[in-house]
Structure formats: C-alpha cells, structure tokens
C-alpha cells in the first residue's frame, strides 16, 4: 500500500497569550489520499483554519507546534527543520483562501502574480511562464486570458478573482491543494461554478484536496471523507455518506439538526440548537471538550485519553458512549 498523500497525527499548536497558553490544536490528525477530497468542518475557533496554516507553515511567529507525524507523500517531516517543509510550499502544496481580495496584490498585474512562483521554482522564462498562466486562466474559465494578464485584480469580479486564486495555486502543479472556505464570500450561483472548477481540476491533476468549510452543504456536495473538529481535535471522521447518514458524535449530531433543510425541517418550528458555548482553550482542557454541552455526558467524559472507536467502513469517533458500535458499520 502506498503512503497517503498527507498524513498528520497528534498535531499540537500552542499560542502564548497574556492570559496563558492557548492550546489551539490538541492532537489533531488528518489523512488524505491522492485524488481525494477531505472536508474539515467545524465552527469558528475549532482550529480548522489553524490546521491549514500549520500545514502551510504560516502559523504566527510566536506559536509553538509539535506533531507525532507530519508527512507528505511518505516523507515524515516531524522533528525536522521547518525549512525542509517550507520548501514544499508553492510547489507540492498550495492554498487558496476565503477572501481573494486579501490574497491578491492590488498593485501588481495578474500576470506577474501568477507567474512569480513558477519563475522561482521552475526557472521558466517570462514568456514560458506566461504561456502556462494563459493556459491555466483559460482552464478556470476566464475569457480572453492573454489580454487579461496585464490587468489588475480590481478589474475582475469577485467570482473571477477566486478563479484567479485557483489558477495561481494550481499553476505549479501541486499534489495537495488546501482551500480555506473558498466559496464563503461568493453568491450561491457563483459558489456552484467555483466548486465545479475545483472538482474538475482535481480530477485532471489527481490533486488531493483539503477543503475547510463551515457549510455542511458544501461538504456533502464534494467530500469523499469528512473530519469534524471541535476545540482543537478531530472528534469524528468518516466517508461522507456514512458520516451524514449516521453521525456518531453528539456534537456532529447536533450540527446536523441545527440547520434548516428544505423538505426535512418544518418551517417555523424551533430548531434543535446546541446550548452553551465552546470552552476556552487557555490552559488546556482535559477529557471531552464537548461534555458541558452534551446531553449524554457521564463520569467517564472528564478523563484523558478518550476512547476512540474505529468504524469498519472507515473513520472513527472519540466518545465514551458505549452504544456507538451499533450506530454505524
């Protein structure tokens, strides 16, 4: 069996603050195969974006990181110099962000921004790099790409700017694409188009896609596997069909029923909300971080380590509830 494209285990990120250490990631883990899509879902502050930042080596300078395994394409970089991992960025892995306005330099032409990494890594000439950029712009659906290379980001619409970001990220032919809420700032009709472009390119290039979203609709539409994060840990993962059909963790179950779904929820009736709020992560948390909001919590929930139940169909859940094995194959 070949090594997975991305294999992360026991990832910890701690950020010192005035009020003490913030344990933002508390042993998160991810596995992604080439050509597959893993959606990382969860609410604000759960650590999903921080996980992406850690993967890209873009953590705040004062953050401390450690990992049990930090491997791309079979090479484990845990404990190695950060420089070794940084060399992968922009070549073997690339990232697109939620707001293309903050990622594009408004004072540089699109052509210069897109070809920067190519000229750096592949030592291409300006003309060669521009040809690649034109082909890529054409591929993501931007009309008349040659003349648009000389334009500035403000001359593109919001959806086109996100297409630009995708083109720039994929121009170096990475193996892994990390997309952090790539469609959250877009209208729904544009969202569908952008997800379509990402999915098509993924097929063509055999990309592994790590897509971060808070929108369960996006996850259901494009994920092969889903990982649910809560308070800095992945608390449940699984193939998308199984995880949506039989969510095992009480938090995942709560998320699924809290959103109105046309045809499923009755309009005008109260939605089952999750009471309480996410615990503060300063000083760390022991046991299950969800237990204060959980209707099923018992004595065993307060101690570490939490039992991890693996499903035969793939994925796992971290929960003390004994009846779990019956819920999902």
């Amino acid at each position: 069996m070949t090594a997975p494209l991305l294999d992360i285990d026991d990832l910890h990120v701690t950020i010192p603050t005035d009020r003490g250490d913030l344990h933002a990631l508390r042993g998160a883990g991810l596995r992604l195969e080439s050509g597959k899509t893993l959606c990382l879902v969860g609410e604000s502050g759960c650590g999903k974006s921080l996980t992406a930042m850690s993967l890209m080596g873009l953590l705040p300078r004062k953050a401390r990181q450690s990992a049990g395994r930090f491997a791309l394409m079979g090479t484990d970089y845990a404990g190695k110099a950060p420089k070794a991992w940084a060399n992968l960025r922009g070549r073997d892995m690339a990232m697109i962000f939620q707001d293309p306005n903050q990622s594009l330099n408004p004072t540089m032409t699109v052509g210069v921004q897109m070809t920067e990494a190519l000229r750096h890594f592949e030592k291409l000439s300006k003309a060669q790099a521009e040809d690649r950029a034109i082909a890529m712009l054409d591929r993501v659906g931007i009309a008349d790409p040659r003349s648009r290379l000389g334009q500035y980001p403000h001359q593109f619409s919001g959806g086109q700017r996100q297409r630009l970001m995708i083109a720039s990220a994929l121009i170096g032919r990475p193996k892994l694409l990390i997309a952090d809420e790539p469609t959250t700032a877009l209208d729904v009709t544009i969202q569908a188009q952008i997800l379509q472009v990402i999915a098509e390119l993924q097929d063509e290039l055999g990309l592994g896609l790590l897509l971060i979203t808070h929108d369960l609709g996006v996850a259901a539409a494009i994920a092969d596997d889903v990982a649910v994060m809560y308070a800095g840990r992945v608390i449940e993962t699984g193939p998308v069909a199984q995880l949506f059909a039989v969510p095992a963790h009480p938090y995942t179950q709560g998320l699924m029923v809290a959103i109105p779904v046309p045809g499923r929820t009755r309009p005008g009736t109260p939605l089952p909300a999750i009471s309480g709020r996410v615990p503060g992560l300063i000083g760390g948390v022991t046991g299950c971080a969800f237990r204060d909001r959980c209707a099923l919590a018992g004595d065993g929930c307060a101690s570490d380590p939490l039992p991890r139940h693996a499903f035969a169909s793939g994925g796992f859940v971290e929960c003390t509830r004994p009846s779990l094995s019956e819920t999902r194959p």
Binding site: D187, A221, G268, I274
Partner: protein
C-alpha cells in the same frame, strides 16, 4: 393583484408595511476620469407585508436588498416612491415617531454595538434618546425577553459571545416596541449552532409580540424556515413573490429557479448543481432596461431585453417574465 373585496368573507388584512414603487439611482464614476453613469440600485420595488407575518427577501449581492431595506427603515431617502407603516407615511414623520414603527437588526452585531458602552446602556439607549422612563428596568426586562442573562447588564460587548451580541442587538431594536423589524442577514456571521438559537428567538418574538418582519438573507434554507412569503430580487427589481413553500418547491422565474437550483443541500449523493457556463457576471451597468435577467437567462429571446417583463399573476404568486410558457415547458 388583490381579489375584489366583495368576493371575500372578511376584508383582506391591511399590510403593516407597504413599500410603494421605491426607486434609488446612484451616480457612479468608473475610474478617476470616467463619466458618471447611472446605477439603478432599486428600480421600482413594491412590497407588502401583512401584520404578524414575515416576508423573506432573497437575491445575490448587488441586487439592491440592502438599499431597499435602508429606505424601508428611513436611513436612506428614495428618489421616488413611499413607505407606509400602519397607515403612516414614514418619510412624513419625525425621527422620534419613525423609530417606534420600524427598527433594523444588522448582520454584524460586533459592528452595531459600541464596544465601550455597557450592554444595559446599549439596550436602553433608544429609550433614553427618545424620552422613555424607567430605562434600566425596561432594559433588564428586554434582555430577559431575548434570553440574555441580566448579569450581563454591566458587561461590554467584547465580553459576549457572537450569539449573545446578536441577542443584545435584537433587544435594542425591540425596546421601543416597533411594529416592524427588518433583519438584514441577522445570522450570517454566526455559527450554525448559534444561528439556530437566534432563529428560534426571532420566531418566538414574532409570535409573542405580533411582530411584522422583513428577513433579508442569501441563505435560502434559513429564509424558507422563517418566512411566510418570499420575494426574489434581481438587479433592483422584484422578479418573483410567492408563499415560502411554493417558491422553494416550484420556483417559476428563471432566476428563482437558478437560485434554488444552486443551493447545496446537506445530504451527500446530489451532484453539484449544473450551471450554464460562460455567462457574464451580473454587471448592473450592462443590464438591459427590459428584463434585467435576460443576458443570463437560458430561455431569453432578444426581445426580452427590450421591454420590462409583464407580471404573471397566479393565486398567491406573481412573477415577471416574457416567456413563462417556455420556462415551465
């Protein structure tokens, strides 16, 4: 559109809020030396909302929803048209009376609440400005009413969670007991578990206080959940209005169909919605003065762009289209 009164046993309910033919045109200069062009942000919008009901207003960014709502609450004067609430002409009233008729709740409570004022002050502020008595007691009562613990009376907005801040903004909007509440994307900045809490609160307040609401959102599932009727806007005009279940089940206007079709349901197994490719972005300057959706419409004929679309009225539904038979076929 309304049936003859004699044909009904009881007189139809008078609308609590009635927007009549609102128009707002901005003069926009493109580039530093460009000639100013006219942007028809809202182009003849009429809406009626019966007392105690909720009208959902949907459409993509730039469709004029927020401009229309600014005019509805009196923050912006239309070029022409009128707003009446409970039979009063809103623009003829002094501000002190207007604020007792209609109040807004905005998307981002962090921006709506002054960070250096205490929650109790903020909630009671409208009473203080508009000559109320017993301000602190009423503010406490209203906080209690919206599910904000009164121990937060002396807290600052920064100490509250996102959901609590939105509750504070709702409490402030309701303390003058307005007839109409305009909610502009009230849960878009919130996590889904918190969104459920705020939606439940709005539904409960509507029922208990006989509130009339206009609920603006780009999230169609949320709009369907809270609305009695839904109006769809495209580039400044209403293109369809229908009871919420009918609009989502059988949208008639091509744009409504596109919007509903592009919505991702949180259930795996559905393919990504197919989107016609190569369609131009919705540029308001390029939109024809006939049917404004014609350039993006799969059913359009050249003549559609020449004249405004005629109203097609059915029981409980209206939409504006030149070619309804082609769309349904």
């Amino acid at each position: 559109m309304t049936a003859p009164q004699t044909a009904q046993m009881t007189a139809p309910r008078q609308p609590m809020i009635h927007l009549r033919d609102l128009r707002k045109t901005y003069s926009v200069r493109q580039g530093m030396f460009g000639k100013p062009k006219e942007l028809h942000a809202v182009d003849g919008l009429s809406l009626e909302v019966p007392e105690g009901t909720t009208l959902g207003l949907v459409g993509e960014s730039g469709c004029g929803k927020s401009t229309a709502m600014s005019m509805a609450v009196g923050l912006l004067r239309p070029d022409s048209g009128s707003v009446s609430i409970g039979g009063h002409d809103l623009y003829a009233l002094p501000v002190a009376e207007r604020v007792r008729l209609i109040q807004p709740v905005f998307q981002n409570p962090r921006a709506a609440l002054n960070p250096v004022r205490r929650i109790g002050d903020l909630v009671g502020q409208p009473l203080r400005l508009h000559g109320g008595r017993d301000i602190a007691r009423k503010a406490r009562e209203m906080m209690d009413r919206v599910g904000l613990p009164t121990r937060l009376f002396d807290a600052y907005p920064g100490e509250l969670s996102g959901g609590q801040r939105q509750r504070a903004a709702i409490a402030r909007a309701l303390i003058l007991e307005p007839k109409v509440l305009v909610c502009d994307e009230p849960t878009s900045a919130l996590d889904v578990s918190v969104q459920a809490q705020v939606l439940n609160l709005l539904l409960e307040l509507k029922r208990d206080m006989q509130l009339t609401m206009i609920f603006v959102s780009h999230n169609l599932a949320v709009v369907e959940h809270v609305s009695d009727r839904v109006a769809v806007m495209y580039l400044g005009r209403k293109v369809e209005e229908a009871p919420a279940p009918a609009l989502f089940k059988t949208p008639r206007h091509p744009y409504s169909r596109m919007l509903v079709g592009a919505t991702l349901v949180p259930e795996p197994g559905h393919p990504l919605p197919a989107q016609p490719k190569g369609q131009p972005p919705a540029d308001p300057f390029l939109a024809p003065m006939g049917c404004r959706f014609a350039p993006r419409c799969a059913f359009a004929q050249p003549s559609c762009a020449e004249r405004p679309a005629p109203a097609i009225t059915e029981p409980a539904r209206s939409f504006w289209c030149h070619r309804p038979e082609a769309v349904t076929a």
